[in-house]
Amino acid sequence: MASKNHSIVKKKTARFTLKQQKYIFVYTCLLIPLLFFISIRFLPTLYTFNIGFREWDILSEDKPFVGMDNYVTLFKDEVFRKSLVNTFIYVVFGVIGQLLCGLGVALLLQRINKFVGVFRAIYFIPYVTSIVAVSWVFKWILMNNGIVNDILMKLGFEAQLFLKSPDQAIYIIILTMIWQGLGFQMIIFLAGLENIPKMFYEAAEIDGANSWNKFIHITLPLLNPTIVFSAVIGSISFLQTFTQVQNMTQGGPLNSTISVVLYIYQLAFQHFDMGLASAATVLLFIIILIITIIQMKVLTKKFEY
């Protein structure tokens, strides 16, 4: 009798602690991550806004509050304006090029049944490859006496300046970025294409639609979520263009390839003007936010059925 009683008591306390245990478990698990997000992401964000309003010389103790001065300076700064224009070019040409190439390759790959693995590997290896390594390889093959010019001259064309030309360099960097991201785009589009039910195409075939009509009236509208996704991810990544430019041209020639992020980097870590650089990051953040919101709104509405 006594032992039975004992076991009931034990069970009760066990059940009670089970609930307590759950709470202890939950908050122990959340403690470190929450501290992390507060101290590594949330507080630094506020700090950036703060620095953007100050004249921040890394050497002097005094960091006077200067209000909007940094923002005014930025808009008067020709290099910053140039970096904004360039970033716009990176985003527009980059995203359009990426969408067209990604969709094109995915459509082609969809029809191929042989060697799928080989094709995937060909398109995919650039995506997993180090951006720095790819940048240097492109720089090397595009040198004045590099492989591409060698081929051009053998075919009877004039040698090109490529990365040394203020007109060509930015587009070459965009091409490099599109080439490297193609594998990712391709997978996204292949997945999107697979989600379109086959019966739509069968129905269209019965109605006598040709492949162009099928593409315009079925594939494109139904692929809309994928296109929006790819455009949003693409614009965010092209807005943050840095590694390729820094390794291929360092922003030159004549600032023709400088991107906002590269300029921020130069301001902060070469001129040590943290205030100006922080103000520029705040502007970049606002641009990213606006573009993302617009794209979500406009692109999701356009083709809605």
Binding site: F36, Y47, R120, V128, W136
Partner: protein, 243 residues
């Protein structure tokens, strides 16, 4: 790139695909005469530790948010998600000031700390943890397993595909990370592979054959990871991209 890395200096500027006198000299030079092997090790340490940390924290937070109800849950989840809106560029200056003040510059921890937990990974893991049936977890509780054992022995095996995708992408991302390491690393010894390669190429523009050997070394582990995990990577992109 690979073919050039086997060419002697005299043959670098040719169109030939294969060298007339292939040589391993470039590899010997880069491994012996430079700190390349140290950079390789640095990258490896940073990428592995970050991946393990992300795997642990992201699965546990994702699990807790998906499977428990507690005070402040939705606020905490929204808070974590909202941090995804903040671009890294915006945080780099405060991080740098912080690292300088705390003496983290030029340390492994300094290179790693921004990435040890990923908000995106938490979101991903939460989505997958939600598909685990509650009955399964309750059954384990009745069997007397404590919460940590339930998490490790019951919950984690259910989400292996998502977890492996998360690990692969975290590893790739950290192996190739450039902007932050470039800022927080000062000495040559602490450079990671991308930073080392960038400086090395910048300082030695004429020795292209050695630069190409370096680029090849930087790519090889990724190609191995790719070939082993090809299926997971492609599945992972589809999972992470369109969920």
């Amino acid at each position: 790139m690979v073919s050039t890395s086997f060419k002697p200096p005299s043959e670098v500027y040719g169109l030939k695909l294969l060298a007339d006198h292939p040589t391993l000299d470039n590899y010997r030079k880069i491994m012996v005469d430079t700190l390349f092997s140290k950079w390789f090790l640095n990258s490896f340490i940073v990428a592995i530790i970050t991946t393990l940390s992300v795997a642990l924290f992201d699965t546990i937070v994702g699990y807790v948010i998906a499977k428990f109800s507690f005070v402040g849950k939705s606020i905490i989840f929204l808070f974590i998600l909202s941090s995804l809106m903040i671009p890294t560029e915006m945080l780099i200056i405060p991080w740098y000031i912080m690292s300088t003040d705390l003496g983290w510059v030029d340390t492994y921890w300094g290179i790693m700390f921004p990435g040890v937990i990923s908000a995106f990974g938490i979101f991903l893991m939460k989505q997958f943890m939600e598909s685990i049936p509650d009955d399964l977890l309750d059954a384990a509780r009745i069997d007397g397993l404590n919460e940590f054992k339930i998490f490790f022995q019951i919950a984690i095996p259910q989400v292996y595909p998502a977890l492996s995708a998360l690990c692969i992408f975290t590893f790739l991302g950290n192996w190739n990370a450039y902007l932050w390491p470039l800022i927080v690393i000062e000495t040559e010894e602490m450079r990671t592979l991308p930073v080392g390669l960038a400086f090395f190429s910048g300082e030695n523009q004429t020795y292209w054959e050695i630069v190409m050997a370096g680029a090849t070394i930087a790519v090889v582990p990724l190609i191995i990871v790719f070939l082993i995990f090809q299926r997971h990577i492609i599945k992972g992109i589809t999972l992470t991209g369109l969920k």
